[in-house]
Structures are given as C-alpha cells and as structure tokens.
Chain length 461, copies 2
C-alpha cells in the first residue's frame, strides 16, 4: 500500500479547476514533477522552463500544427505552490469543448487525470497544512452562509489545529515523564506528579468538552436547523411561512453569475440557516380541512430541531395555550410559542395575555408585526450567542468522533491513577488519547482515512 | 451618446469570469484605470501597486478585519492585458458565496458590475483586435465541435479580417484615385482607369461571392444540420437512428468536469453536427400503425436540410423506389436514398439493385453494415469538402449581411461605369461598399451595432 502511494505521488496530475459549464475563462491545473515540462511541450510562445515562479505567460496551446487556443499560463515552481509541487495553471477560453481538448492533450503527454481532492491531498502530504485545515478547504468551497464561511475560514487558517496541538503538547510532556519513570522502574521514582497529571487531564477534558459542545452550533452552522411551524388549522402557519420566505427572497443578492440558488423554504438569520420542513403539509392545509389534526402536528414536530408553535389569539383561550405549552414541554425540543393575530385583540386583552404568558412572542403574521422579534428569538433558541466570534467551533463529525474517543481514553487515565496502576499502563492510555487527537490534525493517518476524506472533495481541488 | 460612452469607459468594471457553480477555484476579473488600486485596498499581503505586470501574488482579501478568503491575485498592467487596461484577476476558493462577497466588496470600493461582453468590448475599442475577431471570442467559447472550434479560432486569429482588409485596401486605392479626379474635374482627366476598375470590382465580387457561398458550410458548422429520417412504416428508421446515436454515445469523452452535455438525437461526423428532427415521431411509430403515412413524412421532410430516406428492400419493389426518388427530387433538399435490410436479399437480387440504383446506399441497420459509408455520404451531401482546411469560412449572419450589401454597392459601381456616370457618383458607391466592408471588422461602427453584438456575450467576457 505504501509503495503504491509513493508511485501515485510521482505522477503528474491534471484536472479542470473551475466549475463545469460555459464561462469567459476556464482554468486547468497541473501538478507534479513534470508539470512544467509537460505544459511546455504543448505551449507555443516561450520556454516555460526558463520562467520564474508566480509569473504569467501568453501563448498558444498547440497539438502539432493545430492551435487549440490562445491561453495564459501561470507558472508556480516547487515548493512555492498550493501542492508544494511544480504547478501550472492554464487559463483558456471557457468552452467545455476546448478545455476537454486541452486536458486530453495533456494526458497524451503523460499526465494523469486527478482523483477527487488529489491536489489538496498532495498539499497535505507535502506539509502545506494539516488534515483539519485540508478539510476546511472543502468546507470553504461549500460554504453558503456567513457563519459557515467564517467557521471554515477559521479552521483553514489553523485556529482549530492550534488548539488541538496545544492540548496534545501538554499531554506529550506528561507522557514522556511517565515513560522516563519506566526506565527507572526498579528505583520506584515518580517523575510525573500524579496530582498534577490529574489536574492537567481535567483541564484538558474541560477544553475538549467545550469543543464537543460547540458542535451543537457547529452542526447547525454547517447543516442548518430543521424547523417546524405547527399549530391548529387557520392559526396562520401558512401566512407566517410566506412572510419569512418573502423577506429572504428580498435579501438574496442578485449579482449575475454568483447568485446562490435560493433553497426553497430556507431562511438565514445572521448567517444561520433555518430549513422549514413539511411545508407542503402547511400549504395543503390552507385549502383543506385539517382532519388529521393535532396528532399529525405532534408527529411531525418530533422530526424538527426547533418548533414554532402558533396560537390563534382570536380563537384559542388561556386553557388552549396552557395545553399547547404542556405538549411542547413534553417533546424536549427547543420551541417558541407564538401568539398570532394580535391585531384582532383589544389592547387590554393583549396586555393581560402578555402578563400571563411572558415567554410567548406576540405577532401579527398578516400585518408583518414583530417578525424581527420572532427571528431574534429563533436565533436565541439555538444559543448561537453562547459562542463568541473567534471561538473555535467544531463543524466536522469526524473531529467529534476523535474528540469523544480522546475523552474516553483520558477517562481511562484518570481511572488508572485512581487505582494507582503502574506507569506503563498510564503511558498506554495517554498514548491512546494522543492517537485520537493526532487523527484530527493528521499526525496520525491511515490510507483509508485519507481516502475517505479526500474522495469527498470535488475534482480539481 | 458619445459622452456617456466615454464616461462608461473611465469606470473600473468587475465580474465573475469563470462559470457559475461550485468548483476548486473561481476567478473574478477587474478592468480599468483603478483596477490595481481597488484590488490593493482589499488585499493584505503586499502592495499590489508595486508589482510588475504578469505576476501572481498570494494574500488575503479582507473586509476591514474580516478575512473573506486566501487568494491568488494576478496583475496585468496596461496596455499588456486583454482589455489593454489595468487588469486584476482574483482567484479564490470556488464557492459562489465567497465569490459573491468579494464582488460585493469590490463594488463597495468603487468598481461597477460589468455588462455582458464589456471586457471584450473594451479590448476592441482599445484596439486589441477588430470586431470580427471580438465576435470570434464568443464563438470560440460556444464552440462545441471540432469544425466550429477551428472556424472560430481562424476568425479570432484574424484570418477573415485580413481577407476583408485586403479587399478594402484595393477599393480604397481606387476610391482615392477617383476622388483625385474630382479635384481636377474641369480638366476632364481620368486618373482611375475605368477598365482596370471594372476588372478589380469583378475580382472583388468573386472573392465576396466565395465568402458568401462559404456561409452554407459556415452555418452548418455553427448551427448543425437539421436532418430527417423518413421512409415507410417498418422500413427501419428507428433502428438506424438508434445505431447512429449509440455510436455517438460511445465517442463522447468522459473526462469529468469537461464532458459536454450529450445533446439528444445529435451526431457528429468529422466535427459537423447533424441533428435528427422529429425523432419522437419515429419512436412512436415503432409501436403504432403509422396511419398518417406518407403525407406526414412528406411535410416533415420539408423542414429538414438533409433527408435520409429509407427503403425497405425486403418489401418495396423497383417501382416504389422510383416513386420515392421522384418525390425526393421534387423537394429540392439534399437527400440520400438508403436501401435497408440488405441481409434479407439474395446476393443476385442485391447486385441487380445496385446496378439499377447506383446512388442508393445499401445498408443493414440491424446488422450495422455500411453505417460508415452512410455517414460519409451524409458529410458529402453538405459538400463540406468543397472547402479546404485553412479556407476562410464565414459563420456569422451579420457578416453575410454586410457582404451582401457590399455586393449590391459594387453592382451599383459597375452600373455607373457602364452608364459613364461622373466620378463623384462612382466615388459615392465605392464609399458605400467600403462602409459595408468596414462594418465587418469594425472600422465603421455605431453604438447600436456594438450594443447589439456585445450584449449577446456572457458576463465576465
């Protein structure tokens, strides 16, 4: 396996780096020892082998006598490139036909078509960045909200990796002290103070708990919050949904060529996306009698991460509201109780209700009153504010697995100390926790792990 | 109008240059006087204003304190750029969200979002190339076959423009001679020999006729050939169509990220695309009794540029074939008569038929016999071979209009000479022909003409 890896590595790879389709320009990326030679063999204009790194050259890509396109070629000389290998980028006219012709020509010249994520994998293996940073490259490309963008950027720039490395360094220090004890086993000395070790492990566990805890928001950032709007027929579910979605439509930027596809039934609040689920049900219900009634609402509420429950203030009384509240509490999912149709109530009735239900949000969906307050409550509900800007937020389930495994190994260390086991057992458990921390940043890797991570990348990255 | 144009020109423009969607990288292009200053104002890494042309710089795009992305910035200093203005290209991670953020930031810094084709328009107005070459840029981007690619490349590289310029120069020489006569009008001299002028105009008209004639193949190259497969029920239309389309599927390259969309019911023969029309009818007919029969076939044949008419050799006799031939001749559209199901005939019967109908192509669609010969005949039918590689082929309907107008103006010159009109009338008609030739390469332009041409470009080009 190792052998194959190293052969793979010697090959020069090529792929389209820009998105598929027609555009003004398209860019092909080549990486590997022979990247510059190969490009030079199909380039007419100047000798690319004699150019400095980070320079751009105008010329023609030719297949024998046939001119395929006039292009700009960028030269990056190892190790000053993304992959730390020789890299060539060819920018041609953005015709899929021409780009395909150029790639075919380069393959004929001895390059190989790159596997998904292979450029980034090479960058990682050549020490450009660690594994968590490499993973952030993919997150960055897929980021479609401010929060996801910022979390990926922080991770790519090494914020998370630094944290992991700091924890690891502290453990390594102790592990080496304990391993030193093993050399002097007969003398029964303790170089590593057990009380200090306990203290250290507890503080590391606290840090790791905080990181694991951050995944609650990290997951939300990366995958959005499945949200349900529930309530009795005609309470205004459909109206509220429309008001929220219309506002979203108005916000989405319309710079041609960059407009994100508007995902149906999704809104963004301060960069967090809330996806409304089972909205078809809500829309249907507008015209039909909702015969299935509250049971159906109940079952669909269970699939959500957040519930917006609407009370029709014009129809439902205090008892109804209490009953709804009880039901929501029993679900153990964060919820907001919304009193709708405030416009149909007298001011006195309204102020009485407000006193009785201080946690209820009073709105008029039809009148678009207090929608902003509702949005803010929605954001508060997922406790996004418990993390400050700059806080490290874990968004990757693989990292959570490794962190959880680290916690377990550290628990074992603590138990061992408690039971006064010998140094060699302690050292083993500490090494286990180091192993799991190392998986995150890639100090510890296996071919399978790398394969698994990079195969999810897009081709050309 | 002129005023606005010049103001437009002073603005620095920005757009996404790579196709829309997610990719490894995306490139934003900025062009104009302040391109480098604007980019520098959002770039952290080095001072872009101090860099040489055609160099690449790694750094961060920042909005105040917030890092939007790590990018590579390419610097092109006027006039050494595509537009001959200062140009910056920013290559960021290929997330539509990030690209949009960067463009928004650049617009906040005083650039303007580019109109479709505006980069190429500026390149034209700054003398980078003439109008016919600018138009070829769009053709190149949209080219999806070898023939279209080669025609666009030849035009972009100035092959067509050179031809037009040569014709124009000859006419200009004569026009100036005739205008010289006007200065000496009282002396009744003829600087421009009328016989020589007639000879020149006839030779120019011959050249132009050849160019206009080339549009027959040029149009085919650019737009493909609408082709109909006709014939009686069960003659094998559906089988032949499937055989041709299956071969095409096998040919289309499968380099990920560059694969052209396989256009349904289209095949390429030596880079020329043949689109089969009304294939739904053929497919339906397979299961149903084709009650509408020959009338329907007849009417759909009229919409084609090429007709493949299939005879079922096992069912139809000599009389039927003669009748079909007569019908095809009456349509005045190029056609091929195909004898299908050769496998069901005795060798002697087949050789007798071959003698009787020397122009018929004998195939077995089911047995995939002689399909290659059929394809070659199809190519011959559109007389693609009457133009040699390197011949100038006009693919643009606008150019054909101008060439036709030139011919008319030259006819008027000839008539004028014949009628012995005075030099000033001749000069007017020659100037008219110069005007129309000048429209092609853009020596003569109007705002409307440019607007019309460049608005069809994609944004970012």
């Amino acid at each position: 396996m190792k052998k194959k890896e190293s052969n793979d590595f010697e090959e020069t790879i090529v792929a389209l780096a820009t998105p598929q389709g027609i555009g003004a320009i398209g860019t092909i990326r080549i990486s590997g020892n022979s990247a510059i030679d190969v490009a030079n063999s199909v380039f007419k204009g100047k000798d690319l082998r004699k150019q400095e790194s980070h320079t751009i050259h105008f010329g023609k890509i030719v297949d024998q006598d046939i001119i395929i396109d006039e292009v700009l070629v960028s030269v990056f000389i190892a190790p000053k490139s993304f992959t730390r290998e020789n890299v060539i980028e060819i920018s041609s006219h953005g015709s899929p036909y021409i780009l395909q012709k150029i790639i075919q020509l380069l393959i004929k010249q001895g390059t190989r078509f790159a596997k998904p994520g292979e450029f980034t994998k090479r960058a990682f293996l050549n020490g450009q960045f660690d594994l968590a940073q490499a993973e952030a490259v993919a997150d960055l490309i897929n980021s479609d909200s401010n929060a996801a963008h910022m979390a990926a950027m922080n991770q790519m720039r090494g914020g998370f990796s630094k944290k992991i490395k700091a924890l690891r360094d502290e453990l390594i220090h102790f592990a080496s002290m304990i391993e030193l004890e093993l050399d002097f086993a007969e003398e029964d000395v303790e170089f590593a103070n057990r009380d200090q070790l306990v203290e250290l492990i507890l503080s590391i566990q606290k840090e790791i708990s905080k990181l694991i805890e951050s995944f609650r928001i990290g997951n939300v950032i990366k995958n959005g919050v499945p949200t349900v709007i529930a309530g009795k027929p005609n309470s205004g579910k459909s109206t509220l949904l429309n008001v929220l979605l219309e506002e979203e439509k108005a916000i989405v930027s319309d710079i041609p060529g960059t407009t994100r596809d508007l995902i149906e039934d999704e809104i963004h609040i301060e960069g967090i996306s809330f996806r409304f689920i089972d909205t078809a049900g809500i829309r249907e219900a507008k015209d039909k009698i909702e015969a299935i009634g509250i049971e159906r609402t109940h079952s669909k509420m269970k699939t959500a991460s957040v519930i917006l429950y609407i009370i029709d203030l014009a129809e439902e009384n205090t008892l109804d509201i209490r009953e709804a509240e009880q039901k929501l509490k029993s679900l153990k999912i964060p919820w907001i109780l919304i009193g709708n149709k405030t416009d149909k109530l007298s001011e006195s009735a309204l102020s009485k209700l407000k006193k009785e239900f201080p946690d209820m949000i009073f709105i008029s969906a039809a009148g678009e009153v207090n929608i902003d307050i509702l949005k803010k409550s929605l954001l508060n509900l997922i406790k996004a504010d418990s993390f400050k800007t700059g806080d490290t937020i874990v968004t990757n389930i693989r990292h959570i697995e490794s962190l959880t495994n680290t916690q377990t190994a550290l628990d074992d260390v603590l138990k061992g100390i408690d039971r006064k086991v010998t140094g060699d057992f302690l050292a083993m458990d500490i090494r286990q926790s180091l192993y799991h921390l190392g998986e995150i940043t890639g100090q510890i890797t296996t071919d399978d792990l790398l394969e698994n991570i990079f195969s999810k990348f897009c081709i050309g990255k």
